[in-house]
């Protein structure tokens, strides 16, 4: 119990910042909190480990966009988008989707309301272990995951937890979902939806009250399954991204955008891709497992990551040229997808080579038990 109290009392910038919305609830929209770095409003991406990644802002700064490139035919980026959309709908934000129709709403993960007690009990034991580390710094990194169970019902939550096994209930949805379908790509390959979509979002932002948050979601940009061939021309897609950037800057405390791009079709070595990266504020690259030749697949090892994640640029941080006090390192991160906790991003570390031969025989039995405890 004393461990819990210490974590709350620490007064680290993130807990101080998250107590600010309690005072400023009238001015800040729900789901928005000021960044501990420079106070700009940030909102949650729905994935807590992604929030931590964003250059010290502990959230997705409003008025910026994030481009997620994915190699291969998997759709981890789609999962990130779904969590982003679900978080927005639960918080009461307006979500604008380009590419799919209303049926996409049925694929959103459900709100995780049950099972909190077992998770809190697990966190207690984790806290016991981690007391040996400097607890002050521990809370700094994990503030969003710690404070949500302890503050639960009283405060507005910044980031909700979702369960991929469930579907998002209409009762939990407080925001609105606007969808724009691309239209028949085969019948009219010359028409692109970009200009109409941006005009629609701009009109929606004008007509809603000034403290509503809007989230723009573009899954599978330029994917041939969705977009006509004309969309791949530089003037179409780059004008879209330029217009998106202009829209974000025009309403700097109201809109964020998340775009995914299949990078196998538009490799990072091409100029078009590089321009798309330059026009976005943040760029992340997901490299799923089967694309890595060096990564040894050891069965039963704890490191069950499903791929690598690289951050090539981060919102606000790179536009200024830098700015975080020395803790952005271009290290590789790994991600793992699970139904209960979504996409979890952790630092990637290859286990030392010598261990596998000794460890292969004995830990099989104990690790089976460990897995049972995890769930």
């Amino acid at each position: 119990m004393s461990f819990r109290k210490r974590n709350v009392v620490i007064g680290t910038p993130s807990t101080a910042a998250s107590s600010l919305p309690a005072r400023q609830d009238k001015t800040l929209a729900p789901g928005v909190r000021p960044s501990p770095l420079d106070g700009r409003p940030t909102t949650s991406t729905g994935t807590p480990s992604l929030d931590q990644l964003l250059a010290g802002h502990n959230g997705f700064p409003l008025g910026t966009s994030l481009l997620i490139q994915e190699a291969g035919a998997t759709d981890f980026g789609g999962t990130l988008l779904r969590y982003f959309a679900a978080e927005g709908l639960v918080q009461g934000h307006h979500v604008h989707l380009l590419g799919y129709g209303d049926a996409w709403r049925r694929e959103l993960p459900g709100l995780d309301t049950g099972g909190k007690t077992s998770r809190m009990a697990r966190k207690e034991t984790a806290a016991d272990d981690k007391m040996k580390i400097a607890w002050r710094y521990e809370a700094l990194g994990n503030a969003s995951s710690r404070t949500t169970p302890s503050r639960g019902q009283g405060e507005a939550q910044f980031c909700h937890s979702f369960d991929l096994a469930k579907r998002l209930e209409s009762s939990h949805i407080q925001g609105k979902l606007y969808t724009t379908q691309v239209g028949d790509a085969w019948a009219r390959p010359e028409r692109t939806p970009f200009k109409d979509f941006l005009a629609g979002v701009a009109a929606a932002v004008k007509t809603t009250p000034p403290n509503t948050i809007h989230r723009i979601i573009v899954p599978g940009l330029l994917s041939p399954a969705l977009y006509p061939s004309a969309a791949c021309r530089p003037q179409e897609v780059l004008q879209f991204l330029h217009g998106l950037r202009a829209l974000l800057r025009r309403h700097p405390s109201q809109i964020t955008a998340l775009v995914t791009l299949p990078v196998s079709l538009f490799p990072r070595s091409t100029g078009l891709n590089r321009w798309m990266e330059l026009l976005s504020d943040g760029v992340l690259e997901l490299i799923p497992l089967q694309h890595q030749s060096q990564m040894a697949l050891e069965p039963g090892k704890e490191n069950k990551s499903q791929g690598l994640l690289r951050a090539h640029s981060l919102p606000v941080f790179h536009e200024k040229g830098g700015g975080l006090e020395g803790s952005w390192s271009r290290e590789d991160l790994s991600f793992k997808l699970s139904a209960s906790s979504g996409l979890v991003i952790t630092p990637y570390s290859l286990p030392p080579v010598g261990e596998e031969e000794n460890a292969s025989a004995t830990p099989k039995a104990t690790e089976g038990k460990k897995d049972a405890l995890e769930f």
Binding site: P36, G39, A246, N273, W275, K320, G321, G322
Partner: protein
């Protein structure tokens, strides 16, 4: 305690350039040139009325950043250790208020005729006007991407300046080239740049010099971009290139700046200047920049 706004190692390169000169700043993904543009602006505009060098006006044309971004950046060009520098408590608002009264006030300079901003972000391809809040600051907005329209707007902004010496700064002109398709070509832009350069004392350009954009040259987009950047690099008197560290990342270095061309002032020709100099730079959380040599 106020730290210097212009890093001392860069001082010789940021002074007012000679007549009819072109300075090129290049950037890559992960090493943007915004901080260097702001320092150039500060160096040209810092003399207050009556001092020597106060007759310099600047027109800033930006295709990637809007007016608010540049105004805020210029306002923050002073950095000093503020007592409650803990942003979590004061939310950054109060410390910013104090900073902006001492930094470059681009609004006031716009009213005095020393600064003009041409917004190439808000309505370049959509053709819509900027918000009313931007209009009264005296900034212009580009409504179309045609070369003639861009040139006439920039010339009008130059005419707005009421100073004797004028400097033109164009940020990320390559966005216009990349996103406009076949209408805008690198030769057309080069011709536009030449005609604009005739009207000002000096021109500062920023362009992207990413590997995929310069070396691939397989698609029209890449070829046009390479033609523009390489052509301007050859025409420029000084080129300052920013890139990330070659060996990875470091806690106290944000990137490398390489300077080639004439540096220390007119008339000095030193052997080593031809090979270029490299410095490391670090952008801190409050926007201040430290430039230092390798090994220090």
């Amino acid at each position: 305690m106020s730290t210097t706004k212009i890093p001392p190692l860069l001082e010789p390169y940021l002074s007012l350039p000679p007549e009819a000169s072109l300075i090129l700043l290049t950037s890559v993904l992960g090493a943007s040139s915004n901080w260097l543009v702001l320092r150039h602006l500060y160096s040209y505009l810092r003399a207050s009325a009556g001092e020597k060098g106060a007759d310099v006006g600047v027109v800033l044309v930006s295709f990637m950043g809007d007016g608010a971004f540049w105004r805020e950046g210029a306002g923050r060009l002073v950095s000093f250790t503020h007592p409650d520098n803990n942003p979590g408590l004061c939310g950054g608002g109060s410390s910013r208020l104090i900073m902006s009264t001492k930094g470059l006030d681009l609004d006031a300079m716009g009213r005095n005729g020393r600064f003009a901003f041409v917004d190439g972000l808000s309505g370049l391809f959509t053709g819509r006007a900027a918000d009313a809040a931007g209009v009264d600051r005296g900034s212009r907005t580009l409504r179309s991407s045609e070369t003639d329209h861009v040139r006439s707007e920039v010339e009008a902004a130059l005419a707005d300046l009421r100073t004797g010496t004028k400097v033109l700064v164009i940020d990320q002109l390559d966005v216009l080239l990349a996103a406009s398709g076949e209408d805008v070509t690198s030769t057309g832009l080069a011709a536009m740049l030449l005609s604009l350069r005739e009207r000002v004392r000096a021109t500062l350009l920023t362009l992207s010099a990413d590997d995929p954009l310069l070396h691939a040259q397989a698609t029209t987009l890449e070829r046009e971009h390479a033609a523009l950047v390489l052509g301007q690099a050859h025409a420029a008197g000084r080129v300052m290139s920013l890139r990330m560290l070659d060996t990875g990342t470091a806690r106290d270095v944000s990137g490398v700046v390489r300077i080639t061309g004439e540096g220390h002032g007119e008339g000095k020709e030193e052997e080593e200047e031809e090979e270029g100099r490299e410095y490391l730079y670090f952008v801190a959380g409050d926007g201040s920049v430290k430039v230092f040599e390798r090994g220090t």
